[in-house]
């Protein structure tokens, strides 16, 4: 299948008082046509920065794209001028932001906000755009679109606003939809509505989706492939079945173990990951997870692990899975315990 998005060796930093935060460090991945890819990780792991860099929404300065290329349908987005980029945003890539309460303009009617992209990118006439907006509102499941189109965001509930955001993102039928924590600000029952809607829409429109989330439950629900980020790096990728049933990176394993299952008894303690993520002003010399890892070896402190392929679809950045470690076998284990 053809790749729609190809991110190569992306590194992004932010200048702050006291140094430079290396938010994204050498990140490479691709998204295929019609595929839903999840990026998971905790706050500060670089998942949102990655998404915003793809959209070129990083404010520079303080942000800086240190290196890397992002190809959308063969076109390198990092080399485009701001003007050319404006033709991509909202047109070829749609984005849904985390907080539907603050990401809509409170002084504009919802209809106008959805229409903006249509008029800008597809140069539709007012009447045609109006028609399309009604269609979109129906598509995302907003009842009474004829009245709703002239209402302001404050007249909508959280879930309804997120539906409006989705309508805006989908207005120009983009090839790629980036959803940055689309349900984090919503209640579980409303989250279920939005997730069901996103699944339906993906089946209908065949849009590729990048879903950024910290909720592994959502990943299991709607994604095909998972990218796990930690301390600005991709530590593991694989299909959702591989990640959930055969995780290889100690961080992925730890994350899955630290969640309570509904069938878990109270006397069976949760297994937390000890410590906290590293400070990315001075990222660790070796593996980012080293200081919290139970099976860290000497090499983990000094060398960033290379990407090791586990299968055609799964790869991991961990010295434990490196072919050297396999060769050394028990020796490596001894070293770790010593």
């Amino acid at each position: 299948m053809k790749s729609i998005l190809d991110v190569q060796n992306l590194s992004v930093s932010f200048a702050v008082y006291g140094g430079e935060v290396q938010a994204v460090r050498d990140v490479s991945f691709d998204v295929k046509e019609g595929e839903a890819v999840a990026i998971v990780g905790e706050s500060g792991s670089g998942k949102s920065v990655t998404a915003q860099t793809i959209m070129r929404l990083i404010q520079t300065p303080p942000g800086k794209i240190k290196k890397g290329k992002v190809f959308l349908d063969g076109q390198d987005l990092m080399s485009l001028s701001e003007k050319e980029m404006q033709k991509v945003r909202g047109n070829k890539i749609g984005m849904i932001f985390q907080d539907p309460m603050t990401s809509l303009n409170p002084t504009m009617t919802v209809g106008k906000q959805i229409m903006e992209g249509l008029i800008q990118h597809q140069s539709l006439s007012g009447a045609k755009a109006n028609e399309r907006v009604l269609e979109l509102l129906t598509l995302v499941g907003i009842p009474n679109p004829e009245t709703r189109i002239n209402q302001y965001p404050h007249q909508f509930s959280g879930g309804m606003r997120q539906r409006v955001m989705i309508a805006i993102a989908l207005a120009c039928t983009p090839a790629l939809l980036i959803a940055d924590e689309p349900t984090t600000a919503l209640d579980v029952t409303i989250q279920a509505q939005i997730l069901t809607l996103m699944k339906d829409l993906q089946e209908k429109t065949k849009t590729s989706i990048i879903l950024i989330t910290h909720d592994l439950g959502i990943v299991a629900d709607i994604c095909d492939r998972v990218i796990v980020m930690y301390a600005g790096q991709i530590v593991e990728t694989g299909t959702k079945h591989e990640i959930f049933s055969n995780p290889q990176h100690p961080y992925t394993k730890g994350l899955l173990k630290s969640l309570p299952r509904l069938d878990q008894a109270k006397d069976e303690p949760l297994i937390p990951i000890f410590g906290t993520p590293p400070d990315l002003i001075k990222p660790p010399q070796g593996c980012g997870f080293c200081s919290r890892c139970d099976s860290a070896m000497r090499i983990c402190e000094t060398e960033i692990p290379e990407q090791t392929k586990i299968s055609d679809t799964q790869s991991v950045r961990c010295w434990l899975q490196h072919p050297y470690a396999k060769e050394q076998g028990s020796d490596a284990g001894k070293e770790a315990s010593a």
Binding site: E42, T196, L216, A220, L262, P272
Partner: protein, 318 residues
């Protein structure tokens, strides 16, 4: 059964929001918590769960109802007597970033609680006690001289817990203690809370919206909807055998981190949003979103009754 440690009878908290409108945030709650037990309180935002937690320890003055803590009705106490009672009941707040004074050192944040209740005789004793408490929750004694901004979210929540523990409480209201924390840190805090409960025989009211955490943490769970408890049961029982249609929908809405389970799951998707608590629907408050609502639900308010031993629900058809 022994006498409950916390007994709540008909607790209500209404807010006057102007224009002659009354917001019934908490409406006639009755429940009890045994000594050493954890009661989980779940519901969506705006259902009144946090208000219930706060009213329970009189951070809000209740509009009606009684709260008995260890036999004493705290709703009747004068301010000075209430202050003395407060050392028995403490609270851990949701946002560890907003609930610690940024201008005070950790020593003073925790020490303040000791000062108010006169629990530390001398300066050195105060310091010793704070350091002891910090070590109890897994921090270091030298952290006492630092300021809140020097700590991560998980560490700040530990400090919030330390402050609550400083006055030797018997009952702690945990108001969403983990929702502001990262997944990998959440388990640390939950394990700490459970460990402390065992060590100090604490009683918890655990308010949260994360249903799997609530189940793990609680002995019994109460589900709230529009200011009322719609279902309450032992947690295994509630999750295995939900009676109220709202609980059923809520449980089916939790995304499970397992693709096999997700693929085979029939999700009940509720229509619409939570109605406004200013103008709640007639009859059963849930009827506007209930897939099984009938005419009876429109006219009659369902009674909160015991549908099975120890399992309460307010639905005509449970």
């Amino acid at each position: 059964m022994s006498k409950p440690f916390i007994e709540v009878r008909g607790l209500s908290k209404f807010f006057d929001i102007g224009n002659n409108k009354i917001l019934k945030a908490v409406n006639n709650l009755s429940f009890s918590i045994q000594k050493g037990e954890t009661l989980g309180l779940v519901g969506e935002s705006g259902c009144g769960k946090s208000t219930a937690g706060r009213t329970l320890i009189r951070l809000y003055e209740p509009t009606a109802g009684n709260v008995l803590v260890d036999g004493t009705d705290i709703t009747k106490l004068s301010k000075s007597k209430l202050k003395a009672q407060r050392s028995k009941m403490q609270m851990v707040f949701q946002d560890p970033y907003a609930s610690l004074n940024p201008r005070m050192t950790i020593l003073d944040i925790i020490g303040e609680a000791l000062d108010i209740h006169g629990l530390a005789g001398s300066k050195s004793e105060r310091k010793r006690r704070v350091e002891e408490l910090l070590e109890l929750v897994g921090l270091n004694a030298e952290h006492a001289s630092r300021y809140p901004h020097e700590f991560s979210g998980g560490q700040r929540q530990r400090i919030g817990i330390t402050r609550a523990l400083a006055v030797n409480p018997q009952f702690i209201v945990c108001d969403e203690p983990i929702s502001a924390l990262d997944v990998s840190i959440q388990a640390q805090i939950i394990n700490l809370l459970i460990e402390l409960q065992k060590k100090m025989d604490l009683t918890y009211l655990f308010v949260a919206h994360d249903l799997s955490m609530v189940k793990y943490m609680s002995d019994r769970v109460a589900v709230m909807y529009l200011g009322k408890i719609v279902e309450m049961a032992r947690s295994e029982d509630l999750y295995a055998n939900p009676q109220h249609p709202y609980t059923k929908a809520l449980l089916s809405a939790i995304p499970v981190p397992d693709p096999e389970v997700e693929a085979g799951k029939e999700r009940i998707v509720l229509k619409g949003d939570l109605p406004s608590p200013v103008n709640p629907p007639s009859g059963c408050p849930f009827r506007t979103r209930c897939p099984a609502a009938t005419e009876k639900c429109k006219s009659d308010v369902p009674e909160f009754r015991e549908v099975r031993p120890g399992h309460f629900a307010s639905c005509h058809y449970a």
